[in-house]
């Protein structure tokens, strides 16, 4: 029976990775850059919820506040740090700036909120479900449900609405999209806004399930979510979900059956194997380079 329990907690952790990976994969698809600061936006989102619930705010408004703050934060980061470098001569420039932003967020968090571990109170108040000896916690159910809702919502948004179609167009060819009258800057800003809003939700769900919060909480899940995005095929929304869930299961099984200290190493071994065998990921498309 413990196998099923591990499977469920793997899917739950994987759903969090999937939500983070969605933000990564959208930003990577459209801006062709690795947003290293994405993981730290998660941390900021979790801190906002931590402090607003501590101040007596009910859970749902606190989460909404956190989503709003992270959305604004993501747009500010994009406008201040990334947009000026979008047409820089070297592709490394924006990557190094992203590292700088990630580092800045971590150190600002250290300055404002100190390095002490905060114990996060779960925002989910649903009692655990007991089915045939299985114990499914409220957090698990909410996380998995949130992941499904977000993936369906995003797929509909991208395929059925004008701004979503604009995103697809910009990710395919910026110049051509601009000629078709699409506001490229606004579309990229919108992508960052959605990605960062999702990061806030992921932060809350992550800390509800694993309730210790430090300024470094976001960095490792952030990297793992990138692994998930690569695993599923970078740029693909269903790929991010499948990659995230598989990675969560691999991590939990690795912890349970192999070694808890080696779990991170196993996750990255997965990345190395994917890069060796199928660099485009499970659902990724081979993109031909144009000269």
């Amino acid at each position: 029976m413990s196998f099923l329990n591990y499977l469920i907690s793997g899917i739950s952790l994987g759903s969090v990775y999937a939500i983070i990976a969605l933000g990564y994969t959208m930003v990577y698809g459209i801006a062709k850059m690795l947003n290293f600061a994405h993981g730290d936006v998660i941390m900021v989102g979790a801190y906002v919820v931590f402090y607003s619930t501590a101040a007596g705010m009910p859970a749902i408004p606190a989460v909404l506040l956190s989503v709003v703050i992270c959305t604004v934060l993501g747009m500010v980061i994009e406008a201040v740090a990334y947009r000026p470098l979008r047409s820089a001569a070297s592709p490394l420039a924006v990557l190094i700036t992203a590292i700088g932003v990630s580092y800045l967020l971590q150190n600002l968090a250290l300055l404002f909120w100190s390095s002490n571990t905060k114990s996060f109170t779960s925002v989910v108040k649903i009692p655990a479900l007991k089915v045939a000896g299985l114990n499914i916690s409220g957090e698990t159910m909410v996380t998995i449900l949130a992941c499904i809702v977000i993936v369906v919502g995003l797929t509909l948004f991208i395929n059925k609405t004008k701004p979503g179609q604009a995103m697809l167009a910009v990710s395919e060819d910026k110049g051509a999209a601009q000629l078709m009258g699409i506001n490229v800057n606004a579309t990229i800003a919108l992508t960052f806004a959605i990605g960062s809003g999702l990061a806030a939700i992921a932060g809350v769900l992550l800390c509800s399930a694993y309730p210790s919060l430090t300024p470094y909480t976001g960095s490792m899940p952030g990297i793992k979510a990138f692994v998930a995005a690569v695993f599923g095929g970078i740029g693909s929304i269903p790929g991010a979900m499948i990659g995230g869930i598989l990675l969560g299961i691999i991590e939990i099984f690795g912890k349970a059956y192999i070694s808890s200290q080696m779990a991170d190493a196993i996750v990255f071994a997965v990345l190395i194997v994917v890069l060796l065998v199928k660099p485009t990921g499970l659902l990724g498309k081979q993109i031909q380079e144009k000269v």
């Binding site: 000026p84 490394l92 190094i96 490792m220 990297i223 692994v227 200290q261 190493a265």
Partner: protein
């Protein structure tokens, strides 16, 4: 062609000259008895920071890939070299010979790790190297912390659990003790060896850059497709630059480790912070500018470590206190501001306009 060659030779000579003059200045300061203990404690760190910055610049500036796990290679070099030193402590008594072999081992092991990581990653285009090296840096630290190695009359014993499961004879000696790391390291690093290593590092990197291979590496950075189309083996040259850089980071790690009495892998010395700090040196000195990577670590450390402390002794100032307490915050801001200032097309245009105006006014 010939004038170009003499020009590079001159530029390189200036770089070597800076190191030698810096060394002589330090020797004069210490010979005349002006060397304070806080400054003399910084001399060997200067050497390994320069080695690390120069070797990272080979990847970031010359190859054009981002590596965020330089501290990981440093960690590998440090542990493998110190492990050798501890094993051979009673066999090779000449500390210089032992240290030289330890340095070579540290460099080789780190280079092998560089190749192992490079093979799957460097044949792809895109930013995979950044994320894989970042993960490598974090993981290698965790792995070292669960590694136990002991030595007794039967040879070496390995374990990933604890010292008891090594199953050694009673006379056995634990060399690598998990989170406690390696203790009782002989202090083999000296400033003179450090400076010699800096010169060797510079020699290797500058020779590489100005060789046929180096031009191939730079052509990949400038235009991968064009380089491929004239028959350059992209993966091979990327791997070459990356493994040389990793090996040199291993030397830096070995120098670092032999300057300590106890070596353990903590987030502070081999973590993400260290990798970022080296990246800050490279960015501050100028991406692709080797001489800048020699100067930047020394200037930044002198300012943040030495002068700031001196100023604080004169009188406590809240701004100075804030700067020295939040050094990592300063690094982050330096990184972002320099990148925006030196790489943003708008900033470049603005700088050119201002310079142009000045030139006109002078004329």
């Amino acid at each position: 062609m010939n004038t170009m060659r003499t020009k590079t030779a001159k530029q390189n000579a200036i770089t070597y000259g800076i190191v030698i003059i810096g060394f002589l200045i330090m020797q004069i300061i210490s010979a005349t008895g002006h060397m304070s203990s806080s400054l003399s404690g910084l001399l060997i760190p200067f050497c390994y920071y320069v080695i690390l910055a120069v070797s990272l610049n080979l990847v970031v500036g010359i190859l054009g890939e981002l590596s965020l796990g330089h501290a990981g290679f440093m960690c590998v070099g440090a542990f493998s070299s110190v492990f050798f030193t501890k094993c051979m402590e009673n066999v090779i008594t000449n500390s210089l010979v032992r240290f030289i072999i330890a340095l070579i081992i540290g460099a080789l092991v780190a280079a092998v790790f560089g190749i192992l990581i490079g093979i799957p990653v460097l044949r792809l285009k895109g930013d995979y190297l950044a994320i894989v090296t970042l993960a490598f840096g974090e993981i290698i630290k965790n792995l070292v912390n669960v590694l136990f190695i002991g030595k007794d009359s039967h040879g070496l014993h390995f374990s990933m659990k604890d010292t008891l499961s090594l199953g050694m004879e009673p006379d056995g000696q634990v060399i690598v003790n998990g989170p406690q790391g390696i203790t009782g390291i002989p202090k083999d690093s000296t400033f003179v060896i450090g400076v010699v290593l800096v010169l060797i590092t510079l020699f290797i990197v500058l020779r590489l850059i100005n060789s046929r291979d180096g031009r191939a590496i730079q052509s990949i950075r400038d235009n991968r497709i064009a380089a491929e189309s004239i028959g350059i083996n992209v993966t091979k040259y990327k791997l070459m630059a990356f493994s040389v850089s990793a090996g040199l980071a291993g030397i830096g790690g070995a120098l670092y480790a032999h300057n300590l009495s106890t070596l353990s892998a903590t987030p502070k010395n081999f973590g993400y912070n260290m990798s970022i700090m080296i990246l800050v040196y490279v960015v501050l000195g100028g991406i692709g500018n080797i001489r800048g990577s020699v100067i930047a670590p020394i200037v930044l450390n002198l300012v943040l470590d030495y002068f700031l402390r001196k100023l604080q002794m004169l009188g406590s100032n809240p701004v100075l206190q804030f700067l020295s307490d939040n050094r990592m915050l300063v690094y982050a801001i330096v990184l972002i501001v320099i990148m925006l200032f030196s790489w943003s097309p708008k900033m470049i245009e603005w700088r050119e306009r201002v310079f142009h105006k000045n030139a006109k006014e002078e004329a």
